[in-house]
Symmetry: C2
Subunit: 314 residues, 2 copies
């Protein structure tokens, strides 16, 4: 077989693997369960076994990249990863040792997704971008001139914990009040919708008929013209636009790429965010582009593979 | 004579020039007035004349770097620089043309100062740093892995316009409310001191005896134990610490370097900022170092020279 790169994205329940050609084409992808038992000690052996099974021999593997759901230092060291049970562990070195020295590199999963979108996703035209993923929480990654911003302790791109809403009464799990994570995540959109409904009990809303509200329900109702739902999503996306205006004053990227489950609201969401962003990003006449992510859940394996490619070719 | 690099820092009233050896040693430095007449059209010819006067011939000049008080794109283009009267101008190309093709590069002045501190100033031990200059306003620059973050439109490092104080009633000149520029600048410190004095008229303060209050007065009184002055500087440096906690969640630098006139308050100021920063930077157990700038007004010429060195050696 031809030699391949591997891109791996370790999640709390499933691990995605992607085999890429030397030219960067995704050849095959599949998932295995993430076995978090025994402090996650079986996770890397399981991945190594999959790689060898696919490639027959480690000779066929040029390099591998691994995305981890937590902060990763540039040297691959993970101080602590609660979701996987790891503490004081270097998964890149561990995998490399199990693969007879195949060069292996690791990064934070959202940073890897940012790199994936930069390479073959929504950010292909950008020289620098910020990727923001709106899921249960808000994550992110920054790519400048083709390189991921790792940060000193692996916190690069943790933009979910930029403070944007000074009026937030609930503490974020990071201890601050009013983090982007609390407003632009799926959880945040639902919380804000409930608040609007509770504050304006005299006004009708399709959301009142629902037993449990999801972020998708709120966006769907807003698109259908529901005034209270619109107020909620406009507030939440306003805070996202505010965080982006700040990022423009700090790193001034060419482009913002919005991904994650909430981004399935599509161009409707992008239009909301753009309006707020352009109103607040007052220092520059040249506004950054804002676009949807295009690789979905595969962004992480793309980015991890690219990390490995760049590292062995540099 | 031996061949030299030039580092130039153009200010609204004076332009600093530095001649550096090929090894990066500052050999000579001097200033000339900045002639902003005729839309700043004499600024670059005056600089070119100084360089030729010093070096005898352009053959002796390896390369030159220029710091400009406004946003500069990576290609050297300046869309507008109000202080110098420029619009749609590329000072690097212009100077290069006047110096018979000597390679010339330009960047924002605060970004150049950041690079100077990174190279030979307070940030020599850092791999990545954020430089924050507290003067009449608040400026800044970011250096990651030895490279300045220019940004798409030249706004990289404009951290004076990160919003930190949601209770600020006055608009910033950028149109937002509560920018770091409004709180941590000399102007901001004085404004906050006046507010504290006006709010607590029943309490004594050494500041009440002064006709005009300066930021230095406020820091001096705070150091001497004046409770109201201390409250003012603690508030202002608290917002600076907050902005740094945000920056740690975005780019997570190894180090913060604080410069500018206000930073003459020294370790007293650093201690205040550090306390707030460490309280708010909750995501990481590994805190960034915080230190004073050491190059003073020369940081810009150092950084501009380094920009030119790196560019011709890459």
């Amino acid at each position: 077989m031809d030699k391949v790169f591997f891109g791996i994205d370790i999640g709390g329940t499933a691990t995605k693997l992607g085999a890429f050609s030397a030219e960067g084409k995704l050849l095959d992808k599949w998932e295995i369960p993430t076995d978090t038992g025994e402090h996650g000690s079986r996770i890397m052996p399981n991945i190594a076994a999959e790689i060898v099974r696919y490639a027959d021999t480690t000779e066929n593997v040029i390099a591998a990249g691994v995305g981890v759901p937590g902060p990763v230092r540039r040297d691959g060291y993970v101080r602590r990863c609660v979701n996987l049970g790891w503490g004081g562990f270097n998964p890149a070195r561990d995998l490399s040792a199990q693969l007879e020295g195949v060069p292996t590199f690791a990064g934070n999963d959202a940073n890897m997704a940012a790199m994936g979108e930069y390479w073959q996703g929504g950010g292909q035209d950008a020289r620098s971008l910020v990727f923001i993923t709106l899921g249960t929480g808000v994550g992110g990654g920054i790519v400048l001139d083709g390189r991921v911003v790792y940060g000193s302790a692996g916190l690069g791109g943790e933009i979910g914990h930029v403070v944007v809403n000074p009026d937030e009464p609930m503490p974020c799990n990071c201890g601050q009040y009013g983090c982007l994570d609390q407003t632009a995540s799926a959880t945040g959109v639902v919380r804000h919708a409930r608040r609007v409904l509770a504050r304006r009990t005299d006004e009708p809303s399709a959301l009142r008929a629902l037993d449990a509200i999801t972020a998708r329900d709120v966006f769907d109702a807003a698109k259908a013209g529901d005034a209270l739902a619109y107020e909620a999503v406009d507030t939440c996306m306003g805070f996202l636009g505010k965080s982006m205006a700040m990022l423009t004053n700090i790193i001034d990227p060419d482009m913002y790429i919005i991904g994650g489950g909430v981004s399935k609201a599509g161009e409707f969401l992008i239009d909301l965010v753009r309006r707020h962003y352009e109103q607040l990003a007052t220092l520059s006449e040249q506004r950054a582009k804002i676009a949807l992510a295009t690789l979905g859940n595969d962004a992480g394996i793309y980015g991890a593979a690219k990390l490995a490619m760049d590292a062995v070719r540099r």
